[in-house]
């Protein structure tokens, strides 16, 4: 295999990776949720199971996307500073020592949007292109 061919494969790979990295992730809540923004720290604490309420003290219900999707990998890296494997190990530590359950999951962005639209306390992250008028965007992660 020539150097040029290898280089172009690597470049194509990098382009694919950066294409994922450029997908906009929207953090969404129910339109009735009084919050207008949320910090990365608050999001991290919610997804690591360290808090169960919004910054205003209201009960929060979060949902996660199915493990291994490119969007969740991007979200875990940007917000939680963890790879999927690290997060799974962390969640296993908590689950099997009785310190907390991992969040419920749905398989697709569309299901996450529909779930948040039904849940006034709900929060999810989805591909921004899947967001519709039934939910409100709190934050966009690029």
């Amino acid at each position: 295999m020539s150097i040029i061919k290898i280089t172009s494969i690597i470049l194509a790979g990098l382009l694919l990776v950066s294409a994922y990295a450029r997908a906009d992730v929207a953090v969404i809540v129910h339109p009735d949720n009084p919050l207008t923004s949320i910090s990365v720290d608050d999001l991290r604490n919610l997804y690591l199971g360290k808090v169960r309420t919004y910054p205003n003290g209201h009960q929060a219900e979060i949902i996660d996307l199915g493990d291994g999707t490119p969007l969740c990998t991007q979200f875990y890296a940007a917000v939680l500073n963890k790879t999927s494997a690290q997060l799974n190990a962390y969640r296993a530590q908590r689950l099997f020592s009785g310190k907390g359950l991992p969040p419920n999951t749905v398989a697709t962005d569309s299901e996450a949007v529909a779930w948040v639209a039904r849940n006034p306390q709900g929060l999810a992250y989805v591909d921004k292109s899947k967001v519709n008028g039934d939910v409100k965007i709190l934050m966009t992660i690029q």
Binding site: A92, Q93, L95, F96, S97, G98, P102
Partner: protein, 393 residues
Amino acid sequence: MKYARIGLYLIVVSFPVTSPAMAIDDLVVSGFFTVGATKAGSSATTDNGGITDDVGFENDTRIGLQLLTHINPQMTMTAQMVGRGSDNGYAADFEWAYIDYALSDSFNVRAGKLKFPTYLISDYVDVGYAYPWIRPPEEVYFSNPLTTISGVDVLFRTRAGDMDLLVQPYIGSSKGESGIVPQETLMGIDQAVTNALIPSHPLQGTVGTVQRVDFSAENFIGINASIGNQYFTARAGYLETDVTAAAFGVVDDKASFGSVGATIDWRNTVVYSEYFEREIQGGANMAFPNQKGWYTTLGYRFGNWLPHMTYAEVGDNDNPAAGCSALGCGVPIKQHSTAVGVRHDFARNAALKLEVKRVSPDAAVAGMPKRGLFLTAPGEDVNIYSIALDTVF
């Protein structure tokens, strides 16, 4: 992590408001599974009988199944069963079976059968997927043969700035557990002399056999405290209990453990380090003498690969020379080891691990056999080769 929620909504639907006690919301089923093989590089058997110079699966292979159900928004019930290999084949036990009552988001009371945190990973030590090694360093983790209590603990969790604080007191008893008597005991004394001296003593027998003694630990009380953030956790713990082993003539001998430890996971650098001291008085000291030990693990993550190395040491903790019982006092274990290993997260919920550990057993008291954590003194350093596959579901 994938796990199943099986809705039991039928009951709720049939009795919408009449009987809240029957409103079992859901059942969360999850589990973990490790298949591991071990082999000692020279003729040696570890003192739990688990690792020999033949390839064996008994030491590390285990499967856990956990069921959790919400009784109401504050209350959950959890049962965790773990099946594992032993020298009698494979057997399953409840490691956890408890009710958790959440008084608030930061305050939980749990009652039932609980695993207590002697060390950093004690309460999830069966879940290989949750830590880097195939098994945590024996030089520290061997020291407490008890892992569960029947009792109560409290999880008080709060946040200060970006720090998470945990204070976890626990109280109870550990009854009917069968402990492994490592035979430090009579190793220093000529076995024939001992057998003649105390013919009915349960430690009678042949050097190099695994002996098991049932004992109970009453007035079990301890505390675990930790502080940390997303990059590190530091913890300290202390526990005390009164050990009784009727067959041994041991009644209410005081045992205590103190330990400190920390773990770091920062910018691909992974560190684990722990130190412990154990003190046991009276006749129980024969089987479990005063020990102290520590280990440090350093690792670095390259994507889904985590190579790591560990140095570990266990030795004498000012064990008294005489006065523990009619036979005197136990003889502490002394050994050190270096291990290298790698964890490869090759699939979403699975990791493959390889490890080589070079164990150097030593004599705690000059002139005694260099036995370390083996059944009999191997007479040389021993390499232990291990491979394991860990999953969670």
